[in-house]
């Protein structure tokens, strides 16, 4: 299981890096999907199969399809790639790299100093996840559902057909 964890993590990191450096938007999205699938495998090896399945169904299967749908509608061609190349100058990488370096340093510090525990000891199935989601965390779930309802009403308002006045 440990080897699986490290392989999947490596795939996730490499795919995310490739996603950042692609000029073509669809290729970038494809690498992001690979990264999400790798993260799902990581969840599975850590003993959270339910979360792994949701990661694939919701992120990789639904949200990224919508992204690709929009990109297809925009029909970005070679010109967009050239523009992207223009924007991604090396000097642009300095700020984000510095911030990422801080995070990496923190992770390294945590791994070397504090007592960290690898991989969860128990596997959590759908039942345990649902029980805590609809038990102690009920308010969180309800708030998220209200937020989604708000988004739904907003989308309906924007998408509704305005009737011509007679």
């Amino acid at each position: 299981m440990d080897a699986l964890f490290y392989i999947a993590s490596a795939v996730a990191i490499i795919a995310t890096f490739l996603m950042l450096t692609r000029m073509n938007v669809v290729h970038a999205l494809l690498f992001l999907i690979v990264s999400l699938l790798a993260v799902a495998v990581v969840f599975y090896t850590l003993g959270a199969p339910f979360v792994a399945a949701l990661e694939i169904i919701i992120y990789a299967g639904a949200i990224m399809v919508l992204f690709i749908f929009v990109v297809m509608m925009l029909n970005l061609g070679k010109r967009a790639a050239a523009q992207e190349r223009e924007w991604q100058r090396p000097s642009l990488w300095v700020g984000p790299s510095a911030l990422a370096a801080v995070l990496v340093a923190e992770v390294v510090y945590l791994l070397t100093h504090a007592d960290t525990r690898m991989s969860g000891a128990v596997a959590l199935g759908p039942r345990q996840v649902s029980q805590s989601l609809f038990g102690p965390y009920l308010i969180g779930a309800e708030l998220a559902s209200m937020l989604l309802l708000g988004g739904l009403v907003g989308a309906f308002h924007l998408g509704r057909r305005i009737r011509e006045k007679r």
């Binding site: 199969p49 399809v65 749908f69 297809m72 199935g125 759908p126």
Partner: protein, 318 residues
Amino acid sequence: MNPILKSLLILFLVIFIPLNLAAGLIWLERRLLALWQDRYGPNRVGPFGVLQVLADMIKIFFKEDWIPPFADKAVFVIAPAIIMITVLMSFTVVPWAPGATVANMNIGLLFFLAMSSLGVYSIVLAGWASDSKYSLLGGLRASAQMLSYEVFMGLSLMGTVLLTGSFRLNNIVDAQRHMWFVIPQFLGFVLFLIAGVAETRRLPFDLPEAESELVAGFHSEYSGMKFGMFFVGEYLGVILISAMITVLFFGGWRGPWLPPIVWFALKTLCFICFFILLRAALPRPRFDQLMSWGWKVMLPLALINLLVTGAVALAART
């Protein structure tokens, strides 16, 4: 038998049988369609024309495997592979007979839903990578259609999960010891059947292809075995959905007298023939009709089904 050898054998059969069945289905579909339309169909090559598929296979392997110069090469090549991978992965969770499952996961049903949601990419990317108007239109239609029908596909199955109390497909089959789920979950069955037809893009939901308007839709630019992969992938999808209907609503391998695997095969074959009959009988709807039907009729029905099932299950327990 040696357990490793046994699992290897199961693995081999789970890949080998559906792939060959999918090819055989092409012959079955053409013969059955011909029967219902009062013609003969392919009946020249071999007994009853069974070897027609073999002849077609040899032909398709020798076709030029052409990639259009304007296409996005890498994505164009990956797209047909995705549909085969996702459908074959889904077959790993199907319980064919007692003990004959590749992966007996506690999230089996969710795994099936996850793989079917990834299958959309194949069609969408094929449409996009071909860089042609008709393909792109087919890809756009496919993403909208499959995304909306996936939503209530998942919801329609939650009724059976509620009654069983598990996502594990073996438990779902065991829970149908006394009664098939098609009786308490009839609405769920109908919803899943319709969603399944839409997910496999079979008539009447084949708008991404729509020969009469879009040439061949998302696979207009494909030739040779790449086209063949889409074709076989579609038939694999039909087998998968039929097998899942059998498992979830018709008691899986349960049945008297005959051995379990025979019951499973018989039930699945019935639904495969039903899929073909649908193609022979129904016309194709307009795209806006398809979308509003999905969101305004099927989704509310799936939600009502889930609510009522939940209420009944709760009342029965207390």
